[in-house]
Amino acid sequence: MPRLSRINRAGVLMGICTIFLATLPVVAGILPVTSEQGTGTVHRVEIRQFTFVPKTITIHAGDSVEWVNLDIAPHTATAVRTSAAGSPDWNTGRLDQAQRRRITFSEVGHADYLCLYHPVMKGSVIVVPDDGNAP
């Protein structure tokens, strides 16, 4: 197999990068983009007496929700929607008493969630565009 010249190798690499960058928005549009760090407002959801308080929270895109467990029993806040692979779109993981975890929501939409350990516990995050007004 003939070896590529240096110029050709650079061109192939450039092509691969171009294809990757071109498809990235498409991929981002399918998968919800969340992370544990954000620069928007942090909204608090308390987990107490096996209830998410508030049950429904409305935030701006780019804001974060921080779940804090005030119960003795461990809980999670886990997205109901799952990816094609079957894993939840987002998940705080196990929260023991007094533990907290923050998830940033970058996309506008409505995300239902529950506690994996106690599925009767349900909540919702409503993400609205950041228009400068309170959500």
């Binding site: 096996f50 119960d71 003795i72 029993a73 461990p74 023991d96 008493q97 350990y117 106690h118």
Partner: protein
């Protein structure tokens, strides 16, 4: 949600099968705080043991999920109890009620070990529903009113909230297993 007649029967059967808890109704002399702490801790530990049995014998995902929750939650409550008695520098007192619970639970585990498949799942689920019903009633009507230490009372109240969720979860589990069919 109303409890179906069969589930009421399950609860009564559990009360009979757990003679210690039936004795709680005769608490004329009253248990002290250390005895209450011991019995509440014992009841939680016994449910953890039931759960481990289920994790060893059941292949039903819903039953296993419930059992894992029992291990997780009762362990957390008992860890909180240990932290409290450590902080208070006290030693829980063994008592007749604790001993009766331990004896009854051993008999129940021996019965459960002889079962497998759906028979085990149903027996485990029904026992969990009945056990939580009876324990919750005892905690709510006997233990909490008779507890004098505020931190223990608070712990029992928080624990009761957990156990009531378990009772509901167990009720749904029993219904979902369709044990009569």
């Amino acid at each position: 949600m109303s409890i179906k007649p069969k589930l009421v029967g399950v609860a009564l059967a559990a009360a009979i099968a757990v003679p210690g808890l039936a004795q709680a109704d005769d608490m004329k002399s009253g248990m002290n705080d250390l005895e209450i702490a011991h019995t509440a801790y014992t009841a939680g530990n016994l449910d953890i043991r039931y759960a481990h049995l289920a994790l060893g014998l059941s292949e039903n995902p819903k039953v296993r999920e419930f059992a894992q929750t029992m291990v997780r939650d009762h362990s957390a409550v008992n860890e909180e109890a240990v932290a409290l008695i450590t902080k208070l520098k006290v030693t829980p007192q063994d008592n007749d009620l604790s001993r009766a619970l331990v004896k009854g639970a051993k008999q129940k585990r021996d019965e459960l070990r002889k079962l497998n498949g759906k028979a085990f799942d149903c027996a485990y689920a029904e026992n969990e529903f009945g056990y939580h019903q009876v324990v919750n009633k005892t905690v709510e009507t006997k233990f909490i009113p008779n507890t004098t230490v505020p931190q223990l009372k608070s712990l029992l109240q928080n624990a009761l909230a957990t156990f009531k969720v378990h009772e509901k979860h167990a009720e749904h589990m029993v219904a979902g297993l369709k044990c009569d069919m």
